[in-house]
């Protein structure tokens, strides 16, 4: 089916392909676009006007509200669709005349008729069908192809009667491939070595050059730039205060992963589910920071649950965009308007991301330790895991015992009071305590009632409503619970508790903390999603004397929603039991020893020097959040519970119970998309445009592939042949004849193929934002070659950073850090580095799958005037001056360093005249030219260097 694709998107005036006789109508090629364009807006996944939809075959073959079958295969005359698009009756005609004054063109109507007459064969959208290895096309010139890819390109060129361009000059090719694989241009020495080797054996020299580039650590730094766009990487939280976030070890992990050529399946699994791998490698938790690059709202009063959910939804859409180029975010509010993805599927998938612990806290909890000494990372990860397991086991064992106790009796209060008295607490007829009025953060509730003997106290925090669909309130935490026996004379005896056992452990607070001061303690934080139960166990059974009163004091201190709103209990209950089983269980010596072990583990963990970064951490099975479908995508209107899963579109085998399953499916053989999407992305990084231009959208609203068979071949080559290794895949592209072509063109070819979709010439791309800086660092000789580490602060104008309530300032780096590659520049979401933004770098707010290169006057101002770029020009001028005492070799050297080409006489003439004019001008009007350089001669050279760095030859590859 894919074979039938014509690259209609090229819109090339190629009569041969367009006028070809069509024996059979192809649904995907001819009918689906008509449906998408004319019908699915009203008859699709969002609207199903007249109960008719054109998304699924079953619907099209069914009946609409009129009772007539929409399409009867083989029988155009009985198909309502055809009657409606043909009729003159304005009440019946489709598309309706009020919105579409013109009826469908007769040609389109004829296509529909022919399609139905031929049996109305349905086809799935190309991208949802698994790729199959196409036959290698025959070519007339078998000498041209260097790789399997070239056969596909050449066969197409031959069909279009186009000839490939001659090979690029060796220096051009070397500069192009160096920038495309490492983001840095080659040095003159590298060029010379390459040209010497190429004179002996060009192909051998190319292979060696590519191997050298792929082995360079600069390769990983370059590839990381692409991935960090998708990861919406940033060194800050985003939004109002936009505070600093320590997450750069994740950036370094990405660089390392590319440099080690970690296969993409593992690269995927570690980032999406490194925390769920049975035996995680030391770095695997760091990798999960991928999905902690979501924004975090610390603004006072912002609803933590709302922003937690915003992060969860961002993870859903980022995952679909980055791996599968599918516009999944569409399905949040309704079934997909164009793709066969029903509304429930969104929430089934969302469930997979709804179980992580993070909750939009100002401290970015939960975090993992990144040891300063990488050798200790494994120890840190192992300890972290052991601590969590041990703590959970301690609670679970006691919880089992607690669950056995059946004889609970309600604690009845004779008085219940809130402090301060702006608030109230009272027990209702059912025995629940309810609070009302104004209860500030540190409200204290005191409940008093007749004391009876007890050996366990069951404490429940309840949602206000009994309807689970209404369960989503602000959190409620009992930060400290105290109990006293009070005698009639007022004397008081404190009851000491040994532990607070909880129904489950989740969130940042330990239930045991309810026994001491501080905000932490038992409760649901920051959002109340379900009833919670805890058991307070006294150190010994409590035996009150006659007439004793039991006084319970509940202190609050926790705050949620941007550290701003209270977590005071609104509804809770207290029950007592005299069953001593919990007391005896907790008083066993093994229990104390287990706590001791946990304490030691924690001490060992804390003793490892390091920093912490936010990571993904899963809630336990007992602590699962109940995920419900949001009616119309609105978090406050909940529908039925949904079970985790993958979109049904991908068939029976698409099953997932957690993130790990999901990650494995993404890179497994049953996902038709990921290999195509990645192969296309890598192709686009080398050629400037993907075979599918919309890197972000492979669905029916995206563009069709220009070379569908090549795309499938690339996908399978990457996934199956190279086993997801990127380096050998990129090596093949780099060594292909297609990539190696000269990129010069002429008017006739430009007319024929303006955007170089057919690749009858080599690629020519503007440098990326990162490359503009990095190239200047290399050619000026200033680059600090250091891989990884904290973000740095190259010069940026004063007054750029002015976030509210944020004292952080841009302190320009001095020394080697001033000259690090662009990828290490501090990334602030609400205020990006101006020079990069101007060259189309994204802000990091959301996943960016494709940068569209623009060409604007503001870019000219950056490379001409940015003080950082002036510094590069000054350093380049020093290199030029150091090269030779005479002017012509100095100028030629400057041009050569930047473009890798020896300047022709005209170019040298232009540069010479510029130098002489500038020198005369500087001497005539020295002004403050001394600020450019020590001498007028050197100042003129700075101007020349700045001009060379701004040339089109420098800014493109």
């Amino acid at each position: 089916m894919i074979r039938k694709f014509l690259a209609l998107i090229l819109a090339l005036p190629v009569a041969s392909t367009l006028a070809r006789e069509e024996p059979r109508i192809d649904f995907n090629e001819q009918i689906r676009p008509l449906l998408t364009k004319n019908c699915t807006t009203c008859h699709g996944g969002v609207k199903k006007a007249g109960d008719v939809s054109f998304l699924y075959r079953e619907d099209v073959l069914g009946k609409g509200e009129s009772g007539r079958p929409v399409v009867v295969p083989g029988k155009p005359g009985e198909s309502e669709l055809l009657r409606r698009i043909r009729t003159d009756d304005p009440d019946d005609r489709m598309p309706p005349p009020d919105h579409h004054p013109e009826p469908l063109p007769p040609g389109d109507v004829a296509l529909f008729e022919k399609w139905i007459a031929q049996g109305a064969e349905w086809g799935d959208h190309w991208a949802y069908v698994k790729p199959t290895e196409p036959a290698r096309p025959e070519v007339k010139d078998p000498a041209w192809p260097r790789t399997s890819f070239d056969h596909f390109i050449l066969a197409r060129l031959e069909a279009e009667e186009l000839k490939p361009a001659p090979p690029a000059p060796p220096a051009d090719w070397l500069r192009r491939v160096s920038l495309d694989l490492t983001g840095l241009p080659p040095t003159l020495e590298e060029r010379d070595a390459f040209e010497t080797a190429a004179a002996q054996d060009l192909e051998q020299a190319k292979a060696e050059a590519v191997d050298r580039l792929l082995a360079s650590p600069t390769y990983g730094e370059h590839l990381a730039a692409m991935w960090l766009d998708l990861a919406r990487y940033s060194d800050t939280f985003g939004l109002e205060k936009d505070p600093h976030r320590d997450i750069w070890p994740y950036r370094d992990w990405v660089i390392r992963a590319f440099n080690e050529d970690l296969p993409f399946d593992l690269f995927t699994i570690k980032q999406l589910a490194g925390d769920l791998i049975e035996d995680p490698a030391p770095d695997d938790l760091i990798a999960t920071a991928f999905h902690r690059n979501t924004q975090n709202n610390t603004e006072g009063g912002t609803d933590d649950e709302e922003w937690r959910m915003a992060a969860v939804m961002d993870r859903v859409s980022t995952t679909w965009t980055a791996w599968n180029a599918t516009t999944f975010a569409c399905v949040q509010c309704h079934s997909h308007p164009y793709e066969p993805i029903p509304h429930e599927d969104y929430y089934r998938f969302l469930t997979l991301f709804d179980q992580s612990e993070d909750i939009d806290q100002n401290n970015d909890w939960p975090k993992t330790k990144v040891a300063h000494d990488p050798a200790r990372q494994g120890e840190a990860v192992a300890l972290e895991k052991e601590i969590a397991t041990t703590r959970k086991a301690l609670n679970n064992r006691a919880r089992e015992v607690a669950g056995q106790i059946k004889d609970w009796s309600l604690f009845k209060s004779t008085s219940a009071a809130a402090q301060p008295d702006t608030g109230k607490v009272a027990q209702n007829d059912q025995g629940d305590f309810l609070s009302s009025g104004t209860n500030p953060t540190r409200a204290v509730f005191t409940l008093t009632g007749e004391a009876s003997p007890f050996a366990a106290l069951r404490f429940q925090i309840l949602p206000l409503s009994d309807d689970p669909k209404q369960w989503e309130e602000q959190g409620a935490v009992a930060s400290q619970i105290e109990a006293h026996l009070v005698k009639s004379d007022g004397s008081r005896t404190v009851i000491s508790f040994s532990e607070v056992v909880a129904d489950f452990l989740a969130g940042p607070y330990d239930p045991n903390d309810s026994l001491k001061k501080g905000a932490s303690g038992f409760g649901e934080f920051p959002t109340m999603k379900q009833p919670r139960t805890a058991w307070l166990v006294p150190t010994e059974p409590v035996v009150p004397a006659e007439g004793d009163q039991l006084e319970l004091t509940i202190r609050h201190a926790a705050v949620c929603n941007g550290n701003n709103q209270n977590c005071v209990l609104r509804r809770f209950s207290v029950e007592l039991s005299n069953d001593p089983s919990l007391v005896s269980f907790l008083n066993r010596p093994e229990r104390a020893a287990a706590w001791q072990t946990l304490d030691e583990l924690r001490k060992r963990y804390q003793a490892i020097p390091g920093m912490t970064i936010p990571v993904m951490r899963e809630r336990s099975e007992a602590a699962r959040r109940p995920t419900r479908l949001f009616i119309r995508g609105n978090r406050s209107t909940l529908d039925e519970l949904v079970q985790p899963g993958l979109p049904t579109l991908f068939g029976e085998k698409a099953k997932a119970a957690d993130r790990l399953d999901m990650a494995r499916w993404l890179v497994g053989p049953d996902n038709p998309l990921a290999a195509r999407v990645l192969a296309n992305r890598l192709w686009a990084s080398m050629f400037g445009i993907g075979l599918v231009e919309t890197l972000e959208d492979f669905g029916s609203s995206g563009t069709l592939p220009s070379h569908p068979e090549l795309l499938d071949h690339l996908a399978l080559r990457l996934r199956d042949h190279h086993q997801w290794h990127l380096k050998p895949f990129l090596r093949e592209i780099a060594l292909s004849a297609t990539y190696g072509q000269d990129n010069k063109t002429d008017s006739s070819l430009l007319q024929r193929d303006p955007r170089n979709r057919l690749l009858a010439r080599g690629p020519r791309q503007r440098l990326t934002a990162e490359m503009v800086r990095d190239q200047a660092l290399v050619v000026s000789g200033l680059l600090t070659e250091q891989v990884g580490g904290k973000p740095v602060y190259p010069p940026q104008p004063d007054g750029i950073w002015r976030s509210v309530y944020n004292g952080q300032t841009w302190t320009t780096s001095t020394g080697p850090d001033r000259y690090r590659r662009a990828i290490y520049t501090y990334r602030k979401r609400t205020s990006g580095y101006p020079a990069f933004l101007t060259f189309d770098a994204p802000t990091g707010d959301v996943c960016t799958a494709r940068r569209i290169a623009t060409n604007t006057p503001l870019q000219a101002l950056v490379t001409l005037n940015d003080p950082a770029h002036l510094e590069f020009a000054q350093a380049l001028a020093r290199r030029m001056a150091a090269h030779a005492p005479d002017l012509p070799p100095r100028l030629a050297h400057g041009w050569e360093i930047v473009t890798l080409e020896v300047p022709d006489p005209e170019t040298l003439d232009t540069l010479t005249r510029l130098y002489q004019d500038a020198l005369a001008e500087i001497k005539a009007n020295p002004g403050d030219t001394a600020k450019l350089a020590d001498s007028p001669e050197q100042a003129a050279l700075v101007l020349v260097a700045n001009t060379i760095l701004n040339s089109d030859a420098a800014l493109n590859r």
């Binding site: 819109a11 009063g301 500030p440 409200a443 069709l704 002015r802 503001l858 005037n865 089109d952 030859a953």
Partner: protein, 492 residues
């Protein structure tokens, strides 16, 4: 050098090459994928030259407003101390807030049961139109007859950053284009030597939502607002580096043009010619922008009228700049003034103190701006909009559940005031009302999406047909997932 016919041919190719950038569609710009899928892209004609994204472009119908000056008071100024006169609220002053106002509601800082708070300042009727106004804007009330006040604005975001994003982009999450980006995408700019969309800030801070409020979202990045500054270069990197005179720059650009034209001839990439043109535009921008931002040459009476002090960052200076930029054909001028978050947590946010000073800072400059625009004949086709991102509660803030020493109000999305002037809006008109206690927009409530639909209408666009394809949807400023209505009642 290439000759004119070569140049023309290149321009044509350029045109084709960059067809992906701006496409035929509902406006003539969007809907490309549909066209591509049905194979009709070759028949598509371009509405504007993609090599010149800011070339003025035709709208759907004749616009009433040709440009916009948006005065955003970041933080949310109190409508109850400025435009929304609520005598009934006075009766409840100091009393507990009625339970129905609190049920199911969430506030940023208020806890429990707060007290009602009457307007701190007296109101009176002003101008021929007799619109109600407090005594805090004595200069502004002299131009009240030019102004249409909407008292029934509402938002569903009660925090600054999301509320600002909603108001300026139609979505509370970052990632959507701002109204200014949409406007320049649609209409281009009338002055090719200045950015088409300029943002100016005062109050010492960027907006809470950061630069996303003038961002381009999913539109091409050229449409993002260019933040211009009162100190240093008005446009980043506008000035030549120290030691590079304009003469030297001209010489280096001449050389650059020679080099690049040679490359264009040799390589044949039309982008090279665009680059030559962009460098020349940058050179012109250096002069034009510097001149546009130099307010020191304005006569004394102008400085007196606006209360401007050249060389300082101030809202007053930005108002004068707004007029100068409007005069020069800049399409969308966005002013952000920070410091209106009157919580009453200290003197600066006390309605009786910090708020009064903020009013003084804007009162005279805004009056001068409207008067000046009118005198120059610019007010007819310049739409001036003033608002915060939400309003403030009719209750007094009780942070931590306690009575605070200073007087303030909490964030309040349920009601706020906005005014518009010029640009085809009914002058001396008042639209919408809140309930008697000023709690909720009660009559003719207006959402950000309604405002956007109206703004597009005034600029000559049918907001439903003014779209851009992204994430599989024909996206629009008025947010396809939300309802919106054009406020025909306020259009003159």
């Amino acid at each position: 050098m290439i000759d004119a016919s070569q140049q023309l041919q290149h321009d044509h190719l350029q045109h084709q090459t960059r067809r992906h950038f701006l496409h035929q569609g509902s406006l003539g710009l969007a809907g490309m994928w549909l066209a591509s899928q049905s194979g009709t892209v070759s028949a598509a004609s371009l509405a504007k030259d993609p090599a010149q994204p800011f070339a003025p472009a035709p709208s759907h119908f004749a616009p009433k407003a040709k440009r916009v000056i948006y005065l955003h008071m970041a933080g949310g100024p109190s409508q109850l101390e400025l435009f929304d006169h609520k005598p009934e609220l006075t009766k409840y002053d100091g009393k507990d807030c009625p339970a129905e106002f609190l049920e199911g509601k969430q506030f940023a800082f208020i806890q429990g049961v707060p007290k009602m708070l009457a307007s701190v300042f007296p109101f009176h009727q002003a101008g021929q139109s007799g619109q109600w106004i407090s005594d805090r804007l004595p200069h502004f009330e002299k131009v009240i007859d030019e102004v249409c006040v909407i008292k029934s604005m509402w938002s569903d975001q009660f925090n600054h950053a999301p509320a600002q994003l909603l108001l300026h982009t139609g979505s509370q999450n970052p990632g959507s284009p701002s109204a200014g980006a949409w406007t320049t995408y649609g209409l281009g700019s009338e002055n090719q030597n200045l950015p088409g969309f300029i943002a100016l800030t005062s109050g010492g801070k960027n907006p809470d939502a950061g630069k996303s409020v003038w961002g381009s979202g999913f539109l091409p990045s050229v449409y993002q607002g260019v933040q211009c500054r009162s100190e240093g270069d008005p446009v980043l990197f506008l000035g030549n580096p120290e030691g590079v005179s304009r003469n030297l720059r001209r010489r280096s650009l001449d050389a650059l043009s020679e080099l690049n034209q040679r490359i264009a001839t040799e390589v044949g990439d039309p982008e090279t010619l665009t680059r030559i043109a962009q460098y020349e535009m940058a050179f012109r921008m250096q002069m034009h922008a510097s001149e546009a931002f130099d307010i020191s040459k304005e006569p004394k009476h102008v400085h007196e009228a606006y209360a401007t002090q050249p060389g300082r960052e101030s809202f007053a200076n930005n108002c004068l700049l707004a007029r100068r930029l409007a005069e020069r054909g800049v399409r969308f001028i966005q002013l952000f003034d920070w410091g209106w978050d009157s919580h009453g947590t200290g003197p600066n946010t006390d309605l009786r103190d910090g708020f009064v000073k903020k009013c003084q800072e804007i009162d005279q400059p805004i009056a001068a701006l409207l008067t000046d625009l009118k005198q120059r004949g610019l007010l007819d086709d310049t739409l001036v909009i003033w608002s915060g991102e939400f309003g403030r509660t009719p209750m007094r803030e009780n942070r931590g559940g306690k009575t605070m020493r200073n007087v303030g109000r909490d964030h309040h999305p349920a009601a706020y005031s906005l005014w518009m002037a010029g640009g085809g809006v009914k002058p001396g008109f008042s639209y919408g009302e809140t309930d008697p206690l000023g709690y909720e927009a009660a009559i003719d409530p207006v959402s950000a999406h309604d405002l956007h639909a109206t703004l597009m209408q005034l600029l000559g666009f049918d907001h439903k047909r003014f779209t851009y394809p992204f994430q599989g949807l024909e996206q629009r400023l008025t947010n396809v997932t939300k309802s919106s209505r054009i406020l025909h009642e306020v259009i003159a």
